[in-house]
């Protein structure tokens, strides 16, 4: 079975946690003791319904303030799929968590309160889903019970988003709209008689049906070497294997390969997964590759197919970044740039522009990027990185920036 990763996003109080609680509840993913704990906690709060949000708000501060601070990971399964939800906060100041939670997602769930319609946060979320190139976005118009299940309300919201959707979406991205009520479990896993005008699938139905065609397996082949396996035991005296997880594309035994950045060439002798020898491995597989000839390869090198042209080696390039730290990005400063498993020093020469994601307008001539801000930067690395353009191959096009002194991850970038 496969795994589908979902990111949820929404503003404060539009019922995101309740929606997730609903999904867990209706797929029998929470046990009786947890439901009982919820019942007593809901009663203590003076509520006459099950406050399913209490399931995911795990930190003391979150329960006290009734908000979600950090990314929470939640799991549920159906017989066909395992789902991992990154539940991310919708407060403006926590955009960094939203980007973090959504970075691995294949589906983005965006909640809109039916009474309030589209707010700035909705636009922000749509833009971030586009920036991260998340292939499917489901916009859930929630709290339909509070607007008498009116089709016109749903349509108004849908129309008011159409311009923004057209502006942010990219080729191949699927966007759908669903009218739901998390509180009463309508159109989550079951259709409701309250909205006979809605002919679409339920939320779970959409998730179960979504196929993210293994587009990654067809992307250019990239295999970053994580670890060189050299047992030097009697049985494996001359064994030298390159262990790593294939970022994108497909490798076959017998393929001619090139090592980046050195340019040496060789051929794949074996592809191994523990005691099994494979003919082929694809994106996502953790394998150990051996070559037919002795080449000098160490951690941080990338194997690519010799038959594929234009293997990247970037030193001076521009990238879109989202700033994640309280200390602003300042041009001229040196950071550590980690691309996949590879780290090198990088200097940011310039902030070319800052993007207002809510309005999709950009400002030139800015000196800093603050926490949660998104912009385009020009940078230069000490060593070349074997990165692709993010839009062309997302699995090999992102990097993080690390502060050399605090060691914190302070930014995330997408190669332009």
């Amino acid at each position: 079975m496969d795994i589908l990763r979902i990111a949820t996003a929404g503003s404060v109080d539009d019922g995101k946690s309740t929606l997730i609680g609903r999904l867990l509840y209706e797929t029998n993913s929470i046990t009786k003791d947890k439901i009982e704990a919820l019942e007593s906690a809901s009663k203590r709060k003076g509520l006459d319904f099950l406050d399913l949000s209490l399931l995911t708000d795990g930190l003391i501060a979150e329960r006290e303030q009734g908000i979600t601070i950090d990314v929470a990971n939640i799991y549920f399964s159906t017989p066909t799929r395992k789902y991992i939800i990154a539940d991310t906060p919708g407060h403006v100041e926590y955009t960094r968590n939203m980007v973090t939670g959504a970075s691995n997602a294949k589906v983005s769930l965006i909640l809109v309160d039916a009474r309030q319609g589209v707010v700035e946060q909705t636009a922000r979320h749509l833009s971030i889903a586009a920036m991260l190139r998340i292939p499917k976005v489901i916009i859930c118009v929630n709290k339909m019970d509070l607007v008498q299940y009116q089709e016109s309300t749903f349509n108004t919201i849908k129309e008011s988003l159409s311009e923004l959707v057209a502006q942010t979406t990219f080729e191949g991205q699927e966007i759908s709209f669903l009218p739901i009520s998390s509180l009463y479990g309508q159109n989550i896993t079951q259709k409701t008689s309250e909205m006979p005008w809605f002919k679409g699938n339920t939320l779970l139905g959409e998730l179960e049906a979504f196929e993210y065609a293994s587009s990654l397996a067809h992307a250019p082949a990239r295999f970053p070497v994580q670890f060189v396996v050299r047992p030097m035991t009697e049985a494996y005296h001359d064994f030298r294997g390159y262990a790593g997880k294939i970022s994108s594309g497909t490798f076959n035994v017998g393929d001619a390969i090139r090592v980046l950045p050195t340019g040496q060439e060789s051929k794949i002798a074996t592809i191994e997964k523990f005691e099994t020898k494979l003919d082929q491995a694809i994106a996502g597989d953790s394998v150990t590759i051996t070559l037919t000839t002795d080449v000098d390869i160490s951690r941080g090198n990338t194997l690519v197919l010799a038959s594929e042209e234009n293997a990247p080696a970037l030193k001076d390039f521009s990238a879109q970044v989202c700033w994640l730290d309280h200390t602003a990005l300042s041009p001229g400063k040196t950071y550590l740039l980690q691309h996949g498993i590879n780290t090198t020093k990088a200097k940011i020469s310039q902030i070319t522009e800052r993007l207002d994601v809510a309005t999709q307008t950009s400002t030139q001539g800015v000196d800093t990027l603050n926490l949660n801000e998104i912009g385009t930067i020009a940078l230069r690395t000490a060593q070349p990185i074997s990165a692709d353009q993010y839009a062309a191959n997302p699995a090999n096009g992102a990097f993080i920036l690390i502060d050399e002194f605090t060691n914190s991850t302070v930014g995330v970038g997408f190669v332009k």
Binding site: I3, K32, D33, G58, P79, N97, N104, P231, L336, T409
Partner: protein, 304 residues
């Protein structure tokens, strides 16, 4: 008849690939990593993954066991067998030593356990060997505070976790840079659920300690749960041990792990039981019941 696989599907192999990737990053990014081994199914799974990650090489870090002295004897026996089987180095340190040195104090009362005391011995062990990364088998589905912890979780000199100062983790990039004195707790099976672990043990035909399977044992009943009787359990006068057929769903100390009545002698039946269970896995961990935020508070103190 419907098989287990019809009901829960095959083990999602992507999880194994991701965990192996994490273990390789640990070996590459840190100088002195260690795998914290408890003898439970989650840490046994970690050992299996580590074996695979570096094959045909050996596991490049030691297994470290913090022995509370209240472990089930079956767990200790299994631990020693596994270390031998995999050829991994085994390091054992004892909570009793921390108590004897006056660094930790035995709890009293009928709920007394050494669970909290482990932290003292763990932090001393980290210091003794200068471990910079400790790999653990915690999963995010176990508990609400754990659901928010990163895969690479940076701890200060006192082993403390600060939920608000966590580093963002984007895509699969793991930033293991730390200052001197800090260390990282690494959770490679963060995204596995209890069922995933059992499904993996089944598909990999892994050995696990016998107490996970049904057996006869002397127990007492307390708070609606069955507790293993042992010399370490502080019993009240009316708590009279009796024999029951039980198994353990989670394995911690004898003083803080409750048994479930069960006839499950093979793994398919165990999975069936979990599917129909009305109580969550950590519902059988008395250590978690101390308060709604028990886990978060312990983590702030340096708990695993």
């Amino acid at each position: 008849m419907q098989t287990i696989q019809d009901k829960i599907g095959h083990f999602p192999r992507q999880l194994e690939d991701e965990s192996i990737y994490i273990l390789r990053e640990v070996a590459a990014q840190f100088e002195r990593p260690a795998l914290l081994f408890s003898g439970g199914k989650d840490s046994i799974t970690l050992v299996r993954l580590a074996q695979k990650a570096f094959f045909p090489g050996k596991i490049p870090f030691p297994l470290v066991h913090i022995d509370t002295g209240h472990n089930f004897p079956e767990t200790i026996e299994f631990r020693d067998w596994l270390a031998k089987e995999t050829g991994a180095e085994l390091i054992v340190r004892y909570v009793q030593d921390s108590i004897d040195q006056g660094k930790a104090k035995e709890e009293s009362g009928k709920y007394a356990s050494r669970n909290v005391l482990q932290t003292v011995t763990l932090l001393d062990t980290i210091e003794e060997f200068k471990f910079d990364a400790c790999i653990g088998g915690a999963r995010r589905d176990e508990e609400k505070a754990r659901a928010k912890e990163r895969i690479f979780s940076v701890r200060d000199d006192f082993g403390q976790w600060d939920a608000k100062r966590q580093r963002p983790e984007l895509f699969d990039m793991l930033n293991g840079r730390i200052a001197v004195g800090e260390n990282v707790r690494v959770f490679p099976i963060s995204n596995w659920t209890e069922l995933d672990v059992w499904n993996y043990i089944k598909e990999e035909k892994m050995e696990i300690p016998s107490i996970y399977y049904s057996h006869k044992r002397q127990v007492i009943e307390r708070d609606g749960m069955l507790w293993a009787d042992s010399e370490y359990l502080n019993k009240e006068a009316d708590e009279i041990p009796f024999e029951a057929t039980v198994r353990f769903r989670t394995v911690g100390d004898m003083t803080c792990t409750a048994a479930v009545a069960s006839d499950a002698t093979d793994i398919d039946v165990i999975i069936e039981e979990i599917l129909s269970a009305e109580i969550s896995e950590r519902g059988a961990r008395i250590d978690d019941k101390r308060s709604e935020a028990a886990m978060e508070k312990r983590k702030q103190q340096g708990y695993f």
